[in-house]
């Protein structure tokens, strides 16, 4: 009986994950039956109970598209791509949702091209492995041996290569680069103003589905930057971060 609390915890965890799996199965069944609104709700519930999954976000986005909620669908496609940047169907679906929202396609930078091709976690692990291999090879050069210079050279090369891979993974990982990025879900979009006041000069309009970097917050106003570089203030209502807060 000593281990009974641990057993209870394990049982609770198992039952929780089973319940999550049931909700997900139900959501998928609803989706197949064409009950898209209900399916979207169940996908959302499933995500609340289980760890985040690119596939579930994608499926939820597709259900939302069917119910005409393109902006929310775009948010879920974004999230699916953050979790799995190589998820091609999510990328296509996001482009389609953006087209439907009237958001012009943004130009792909080198980072987007990297994450489309290389799994970032693998890149990070490879970089870490090379880094430590280099570090230990360099260390081996301290011991008296005939291969001392070669070990030092190999160690330096591995170290440099590992650091390079880690740098690329750091710069490309959307979970790092999109920490302060948000999407506009407000119906009809929201105006970008020159100062945090309702009557201030309008710089631009942020249509529904726009992506914006939040730089700071003052009361009910965000100060942010558009992908084009323009900066201004906009209301916090209807602005949802791409990466959900912990």
């Amino acid at each position: 009986m000593k281990n009974s609390p641990m057993v209870v915890c394990v049982l609770l965890l198992i039952s929780g994950s089973l319940a999550g799996a049931d909700v997900l199965s139900d959501a998928r069944a609803r989706f197949r039956d064409g009950e898209y609104g209900q399916a979207a709700k169940l996908f959302e519930r499933s995500l609340e109970k289980s760890p985040p999954s690119a596939a579930v976000f994608f499926e939820m986005g597709r259900a939302l598209v069917k119910t005409g909620q393109e902006a929310r669908a775009a948010l879920n496609f974004h999230r699916a791509l953050i979790l799995d940047p190589r998820f091609a169907p999510a990328r296509s679906a996001l482009q389609e949702a953006n087209v439907a929202l009237g958001i012009s396609p943004s130009k792909q930078d080198w980072r987007a091209r990297v994450v489309e091709r290389i799994p970032l976690d693998s890149l990070t692990l490879a970089g870490t492995g090379l880094f430590w291999a280099g570090a230990f090879a360099g260390l081996a050069a301290f011991f008296p041996t005939v291969l001392r210079r070669r070990r030092l050279l190999v160690g330096t090369l591995f170290l440099a290569l590992g650091l390079s891979l880690l740098s690329v993974a750091w710069l490309c990982d959307p979970r790092i680069t999109l920490t302060n990025t948000a999407i506009v879900l407000t119906n009809g979009g929201t105006p970008l103003l020159s100062s945090p006041a309702d009557q201030s000069e309008k710089i631009a309009s942020l249509p529904q589905g726009s992506i914006v970097d939040v730089l700071s917050q003052r009361g009910r106003w965000f100060y942010g930057q558009l992908p084009g570089g323009a900066r201004g203030w906009f209301l916090t209502e209807g602005i949802v971060p791409l990466i959900p807060p912990a």
């Binding site: 169907p89 296509s92 482009q95």
Partner: protein, 599 residues
């Protein structure tokens, strides 16, 4: 206002008037450039910025009888600036038919001579339909709605509606103009926009008022003109109701009671006493005939556009990667009902996924009758494509009363097929082209889940606990190995050796005081050897002492200690043990040696 105050105002005005009258100019014009024999026409000479002018009493032109009929003065004060207008009116009576030119003539103002421009008058003898003098001639275009209510001379205000057509088609945009005439002598304010509307037609937003001067029946009028366009929405006879414009006018009034009769002897400026009156100017209602669009020849894809149009198309980008949309931009320009027209039709778009286009209208006139409407079709290739869909646009041309079709051939493009999700499991894949546009078949969710890899955490690997622990462990291991290696290598290193030497030196030095007298020089020699690090070789140590920068007497003392050690070790019977003083002196010397080397 009392009579005394009135007097003061008058005196002030009398003083200010000459100061305020500036910028003299002269203009002349006829009330109409066409007339019949015997029908009088007025020639008005307007002088601005002067209190008086000298003009000829009569002008002699063969075939025309031109006599000065009178003069009038108008003062106006705006923003405390006074201006005056003198109008000299001549009556021109044509004597016979023909084309006449009234030559320019001189007008003298305060010693300066101004000259009017020459004017032309066409005189006919034919009986013609009554014409509204002063209104511009309608050249097969706009038709006046009828005689303005001001046909009588001196009417203070009236309104007119001019419609370019009286027979139109359903959906055809017909420009119209509303003109509101006010006698130039009347001041006041007019409403910003006229009220106009009715059943059976829609009205475009009115343009801003255009203000101009015009002479009608010999009277100067200020005309406010508003442009718009109407579109009939049903066939039959369409009643165009009156359009109204509200105004608050300052009509000439009488001097109030109490105004000193003395001042009645002076010519008082006009506008000095006015009556404010709210009026509503109304145009006359009219009728137009609205024809239905013909059924014969109507294309099946008729867009609803009525007018005259041209079409151009372009695509961007010309190269698109998988899933990337391209935009087919179609610009329809010309004249017509841009608001009511439908979108152009895409042809041959089976390999594309197209979405409803966005549209933007750029008008080149004030009422949205002429301009360019741009449609942007987002397209995503379902299969690899080298050409865009074609475009077709049909419209009805009211001028030819026929339907027209504009067609655009496909444009060259290089678009890769998008990575659309696979069709549902168990559902046969639809052949390309049969798949309905945007909503593709729902994907099999298990398949989708299988396609997705990725992470199950919002935290990047760099910040995950397991990653950090693994790296910390590796770092600790590396550090441990490094320390072991360093410790093993240290004794062989220069620093290690130096450290060991120093330790021996310290030990040797420490034992000097307590050592047996027989072993004193042995230890003292060890201290010197360790200091010079000569490896126990007497000659090498001696050489190092000699080459050191120590003072010669100090070097000699060191040599002496080494010699004394030799004596104590090798002399027969041994050397005498060192005295306490001698030991103290050697210890002091060795201390000084250390001090010197430490420095």
């Amino acid at each position: 206002m009392t009579g005394k105050t009135m007097k003061r105002v008058f005196v002030v005005l009398a003083i200010l008037l000459p100061l305020c009258l500036r910028g003299q100019e002269v203009a002349a014009g006829l009330s109409g450039n066409q007339a019949q024999v015997g029908e009088p026409v007025q020639l008005m000479v307007t002088v601005r910025g002067a209190r008086g002018a000298e003009v000829p009493q009569k002008l002699s032109v063969k075939g025309l009888q031109i006599n000065l009929a009178g003069r009038s003065t108008q003062f106006e004060m705006r923003n405390f600036k006074m201006s005056s207008t003198l109008t000299y009116t001549y009556l021109v009576v044509p004597q016979f038919e023909g084309e006449f030119t009234i030559p320019s003539f001189d007008v003298q103002i305060e010693g300066k001579t101004f000259r009017t421009q020459a004017m032309k008058l066409s005189v006919s003898g034919d009986a013609r339909a009554p014409q509204v003098p002063g209104l511009p001639q309608q050249n097969a275009g706009p038709l006046p709605s009828g005689q303005p209510v001001s046909a009588d001379e001196g009417e203070p205000f009236f309104a007119d509606l001019i419609l370019s057509k009286k027979k139109v088609f359903v959906g055809e945009v017909v420009p119209l103009e509303l003109r509101f005439y006010f006698n130039s002598r009347i001041g006041g304010q007019v409403g910003e926009r006229p009220n106009f509307g009715g059943e059976g037609f829609t009205v475009q937003k009115f343009s801003n008022a255009v203000k101009r001067e015009q002479v009608v029946n010999g009277t100067n009028y200020t005309v406010f003109s508003f442009q718009s366009a109407i579109t009939a929405v049903k066939s039959g006879t369409l009643e165009i109701p009156e359009a109204t414009l509200d105004a608050r006018l300052q009509l000439p009034g009488k001097a109030p009671q109490g105004f000193d009769s003395f001042f009645n002897n002076f010519p008082l400026p006009q506008g000095m006493f006015t009556d404010n009156r709210d009026v509503s100017l109304k145009t006359k209602p009219m009728r137009i005939e609205v024809l239905p669009l013909p059924k014969d020849g109507r294309p099946e894809d008729f867009s609803g556009a009525v007018g005259k149009f041209t079409m151009e198309a372009s695509v961007s980008p010309r190269k698109a990667s998988a899933g990337e949309p391209v935009t087919l931009k179609v610009a329809v320009s010309g004249q017509g009902n841009f608001e009511g027209m439908g979108t152009p039709l895409l042809t041959g778009d089976e390999g594309w996924r197209s979405y409803p286009p966005s549209d933007k209208f750029q008008s080149t006139d004030a009422v949205g009758f002429t301009g360019e409407k741009t449609f942007e079709f987002p397209l995503i290739a379902r299969q690899d494509q080298t050409r865009t869909p074609g475009v077709r646009f049909s419209y009805f041309d009211p001028s030819t009363e026929k339907y027209g079709v504009l067609a655009q051939d496909p444009l060259e493009v290089d678009a890769k097929a998008g990575g659309a999700p696979p069709p549902a499991s168990g559902t046969p894949a639809a052949p390309p082209g049969d798949e309905p546009a945007p909503p593709a078949a729902p994907p099999s969710t298990p398949d989708v889940a299988a396609m997705s890899g990725g992470s199950s955490s919002w935290t990047a690997l760099f910040f995950r606990k397991e990653f950090l622990i693994a790296n910390a462990s590796l770092a600790a291991a590396w550090l441990a190995v490094f320390l072991i290696a360093a410790l093993r290598k240290f004794p062989q290193s220069r620093a290690g050796r130096e450290m060991a030497r120093k330790k021996h030196l310290r030990d040797a030095f420490a034992g000097l005081r307590d050592v047996e007298p027989a072993g004193f020089y042995e230890r003292a020699k060890d201290c010197i050897f360790l200091r010079f690090d000569a490896g126990g070789d007497d000659l090498a140590t001696a050489a190092k002492i000699d080459s050191s920068p120590l003072p010669p007497e100090f070097k000699a003392s060191l040599h002496r200690v080494i010699e004394r050690h030799g004596e104590s070790k090798y002399a027969a019977g041994g050397a005498a043990p060192p005295s306490v003083e001698e030991r103290q002196a050697v210890i002091s010397m060795l201390k000084e040696l250390e001090t010197r080397y430490e420095k």
